[in-house]
Amino acid sequence: MAGGTRGPVPVPLESHSANVTQDVLNLLDSKEPLHSSDDFPTIPQPEIKAALDRLASRSMVEYETSDTEEVTLTAEAETIVADGSHEYKVWDAVKQAGKIPIKELPKIVGADSAKVGQGNAFKNKWIKKDGDSLVLVANEVQDTTRDVLAGIKDTKALSDTKLLNDLKKRKLVTLSKVISYTVKKGPKYAKEIPVEVTDLTADMIASGSWESANFKPYNFNALGASQGAGALHPLNKVRQEFRNIFFSQGFVEMPTGHFVDSGFWNFDALFVPQQHPARDMQDTFFISDPVKADKPRADPDIDAQLDAMEAGSRRLFASDEKRQVKPRNYEQYFKNIKEVHQDGAFDSIGYRYPWSEDETLRLVLRTHTTAVSTWVLHRLAEDPRPARYFSIDRVFRNETVDATHLAEFHQIEGVIADFGLTLGGLMKFLETFFSRMGIDNLRFKPAYNPYTEPSMEIFGWHGGLKKWVEIGNSGMFRPEMLEPMGLPKDMRVYGFGLGLERPTMIKYGVSNIRDLLGHKVDLHFISNNAAVRLEKN
């Protein structure tokens, strides 16, 4: 740790400074009070101050600071004090010679004095012109300029401000600020700084020496010692806050542990047509190796995991009534999706285009975690019941990287399935959800999304920006997505989502997403950010 910023007041080690400290103590013994400008005129002010601070912090001296203005002579003025003013030199020369040709004057008194002095001597009526020559008018003169400057040299001051300004203009004097100190003995004055201990030690306690020890004063204006602390990443801290909100509302976390998904789960099952712009090379990362997914099929491991996670819910809502479980039929699901796209089904006219199996089995980096929600909802169709799911995980877009876009970011997604859900209910739910982040005022704008109908963009009032800002997307999943899974027609499903990065950037005042996610993040940013308290501002 660099010296001086933390901990007790450092004792300066430089001998020069230490001498000043001792000199002050010595002189105070015989003279009180001291005036720094008189008693230590040659020692620079900062050094005097350092010495006095050091003593004052130990109550050995007390001092007062005074600011004064000092008038000092310039080099030109110094020569005037020594040799007389320019006009005096001219008058003197004329007096010596009786008569001087004007042309000759610079040779006798010098060019500068000739130029300035001649005019002033005329003005003072000391000399006059006689043809081409100068002759005497006054036999005796008083060199007031010199006298005034000599006075300033002694007193470093001049009370006549008009004259002072005139001298300043003539570049004969300058004004400077001088800080000086008046120093008196303090309550603990001594001729020497006593021996000090910096800290209480075990030895001192054991020996009892602490009782008589003279502790060095602590600098209460500095920070404490650096903790070398570990830290969690701010983005993950915000993520945890969101997870807590979801948990408090009874949401089950979805298994998002695969970055790669098939076109089927990522797009087709969500009723995103195969020619949709989102499926362009410019928007989606396709996988070159491996190339092709299997058709959708059972995944017993993930099923078992979710079964275990939902065991609590099943126990809580268990009843004597035997629930009908209808195992998933992946083949039928695949056929249904093809049909709803290509020919229309489930009361939808569909998109009516030749649906390609190759396209649906292409592998992509998932562009949204809604692909996982789809999988989870298909599972729910085995035993349709009220359910809530959420996930927060990484998604990928083949974007051109800039201050607000990265090729990867985190999507926060929530899904609520139940019978008889209404649109206003979704708004109400989102009001409570966002109020947990301190956003109380929500508005909803109709929007388009291939897999939700209605689709609503969520706008929140931003107090700082004083405008409505888009904070997320929401909607009810389309029947063309839900019914092919085998979910009953009267089961409706809310979906809503937002990015994790955007609220975090607003929270931490980060304007470039690359300063938040990725390898360019500053480690100071990670270690020095306050804990996240979403409900607070």
């Binding site: 570990g230 098939s262 090379m281 819910s313 009516r352 389309r478 500053d522």
Partner: protein, 592 residues
């Protein structure tokens, strides 16, 4: 989402009132479009001194709002200024214009549709809008002209019947639009090869042995779809009668495009006349376009239930008219509405879409906000996330800082720079990255951590960082042929290697995961004995003699979960790190 610029004064005139920017913004918000910019408030040099424009973002499925006419019409209907017009075909004075499709076109672009607009009254603004709409349709619905493309012609310069054929490029000869010299289609491909605008469409037909072409009865070329029209039949401000031909691969979209052009521009014409399509080989002979509204039935209860309203069928019908639908309560079933969906509403697929229109007409923000769901679930975290959090908290408590680099990285960073070999069966590779930064899904957390340390080289050492996140692997046994794996990794860079630091961190994490330290001999002897040990390993990522494999017996099975060591100086050099670095990386999945 497409953004359409419209003349502000003209739009407000069409809406029969003036709006402040805020008022118009509010109208857009309620209707579900977005006012991007009012250029009267702009200080950009290109906007100053020009008639103010409104730049409006249109939802991607509202093809009927991609031009001034569509925006004005839909908003007028929404505001109750008019009812949506009924578009009807007129009987032509003589025989209808005919277009015969040759079977050869099946090889390249099999479908063609069209329409005749009689007595059109172009002004400069209407003409510009007509061209711009075609451009927007080409970009959006037509997927850069691949699926559908439009050609428009001055009918008085050509003479039917017309034919749509597919011929060898050398056989097709004409003067392209706005050119002076005649060329054949092969030469045309070269001529436009470097063209900024047309060059990007050439690939659609370039390599085909036959190119699509439309002729009139005098063998005058009308167009070479989907590239360019001929100069001969070019439409001008003076054009009175327009022939529109639309060629396509997609049967549905070709008619959607036809509907949009008719719905948007027939307001400026005297009559819409059909084009008789003769295409017996694929059963596509018909009169185009079919302008009959599509009839569908919608459940009254469904509209009420989802919106939480209690409206009578009559009230529902009235509201839906504001969205352009003609609705009458069904005569046969009081629980149903008969809805006729106008031709401009290609976005209506299901009664859910009608329900949304109902909600928009009522006003999303006026809907009763009542939460109807009374049942709740029992929350549960994903086990792997719980496990990851335990490790994250312990690593941070031990004084290490969490970093979050990207999942995607370059091949070099993942393999060569770590002195690792790609066996071609491990890493998931991307087909179409925009930069070499993103070539694959990382198989190790080390590259990202090294890059993070590199970006923070100016910091005081030691730098101690960690990450808990997923890596990805090819796994042919999975449906998606891949799987993620949750890893923990940490690195320390300092004046000395920090080997014992990462070792100590590993011990600490193992302790927190209840894995005991056992001797190698005991661990090998007895798989049932739970615990971990380390053994020296030869790994080119690390300095020889300073790397250890981490082994563990867990639930009666032996695993190698990772490795730690002092990074090889050649690795440091690749990641441009000035000081020694030690790292540890383990797979957390075995602790689930």
């Amino acid at each position: 989402m497409p953004t359409i610029a419209v003349d502000k004064a003209a739009l407000y005139a069409a809406l029969e009132r003036e709006y402040t920017t805020e008022e118009f913004d509010e109208l857009c918000f309620e209707f579900g479009i977005e006012l991007d910019e009012d250029t009267s408030q702009s200080t950009k040099p290109e906007d100053v001194g020009k008639p103010p424009q409104l730049k409006i973002e249109i939802p991607a499925n509202r093809y009927d709002m991609l031009c001034f006419e569509g925006i004005a019409l839909n908003l007028r209907v929404f505001l109750g200024r008019e009812k949506l017009p009924e578009w009807k075909l007129s009987k032509p004075a003589g025989e209808p214009e005919t277009l015969t499709i040759s079977e050869e076109t099946a090889k390249i672009r099999p479908l063609c549709s069209g329409v005749v607009l009689r007595g059109i009254n172009f002004t400069q603004e209407r003409y510009d809008s007509f061209i711009a709409l075609q451009d927007k349709l080409h970009q959006n619905l037509a997927r850069q002209r691949t699926l559908v493309s439009i050609g428009t012609h001055d009918l008085d310069t050509i003479k039917g019947p017309f034919t749509y054929e597919a011929l060898a490029p050398e056989q097709i000869e004409f003067i392209p639009l706005n050119q002076k010299q005649k060329m054949n289609a092969k030469q045309l491909m070269e001529f436009y090869d470097k063209d900024k605008h047309l060059g990007r469409y050439l690939h659609i037909i370039r390599d085909s042995p036959v190119y699509p072409v439309i002729y009139d009865s005098n063998r005058t070329v009308l167009s070479l779809p989907p590239i360019i029209n001929s100069n001969h039949s070019k439409i001008t401000l003076n054009t009175k009668n327009v022939l529109i031909e639309i060629t396509a691969l997609d049967k549905t979209k070709v008619e959607i495009v036809n509907h949009m052009l008719v719905a948007m521009f027939s307001g400026y014409t005297e009559s819409i006349e059909p084009l008789k399509i003769v295409s017996p080989h694929n059963n596509e002979s018909r009169e185009a376009p079919d302008l009959t509204p599509r009839l569908m039935q919608v459940e009254v209860d469904y509209l009420n239930q989802v919106t939480g309203l209690n409206y009578t069928p009559e009230e529902q019908s009235k509201l839906l008219e504001r969205m352009g639908h003609t609705v009458t309560p069904s005569k046969s079933d009081s629980k149903l509405l008969d809805v006729s969906v106008p031709i401009n509403r290609a976005d209506i697929l299901h009664q859910a879409d009608i329900m949304e229109d109902f909600a928009i007409a009522y006003g999303f923000n006026n809907l009763p906000r009542v939460y109807p769901n009374k049942s709740s679930a029992v929350a549960a975290p994903l086990p792997i996330n719980n496990l990851g959090d335990i490790v994250r908290f312990e690593a941070a408590a031990a004084g290490w800082s969490e970093v979050m680099p990207l999942i995607l990285c370059s091949h070099e960073e993942n393999f060569e720079w770590l002195n690792r070999k790609d066996d071609g069966k491990t890493a998931i590779k991307l087909a179409n990255p925009k930069t070499a930064e993103y070539q694959l899904v990382r198989t190790s957390l080390l590259p990202g951590i090294m890059k993070t340390i590199n970006s923070n080289r100016h910091h005081a050492v030691p730098i101690k960082v960690f990450e808990v996140s997923d890596v990805g692997f090819i796994d042919m046994s999975q449906e998606r042929k891949t799987r993620n794996e949750r890893h923990f990794a940490a690195a320390i860079m300092g004046k000395t290697s920090g080997f014992e630091q990462v070792h100590g961190l590993l011990d600490r994490i193992m302790l927190m995961l209840k894995a005991a330290f056992i001797t190698r001999d005991d661990g090998l002897k007895n798989e049932k004995l739970e615990g971990y040990w380390i053994e020296e390993v030869d790994d080119p990522t690390f300095l020889q003699g300073h790397a250890a494999a981490i082994k563990i017996n867990i639930a009666g099975k032996r695993h190698t979960i990772g490795v730690f060591g002092i990074l090889h100086p050649s690795v440091l050099q690749k990641f441009e790190l000035p000081y020694p670095v030690s790292t540890v990386e383990i797979n957390l999945e075995v602790f689930l």
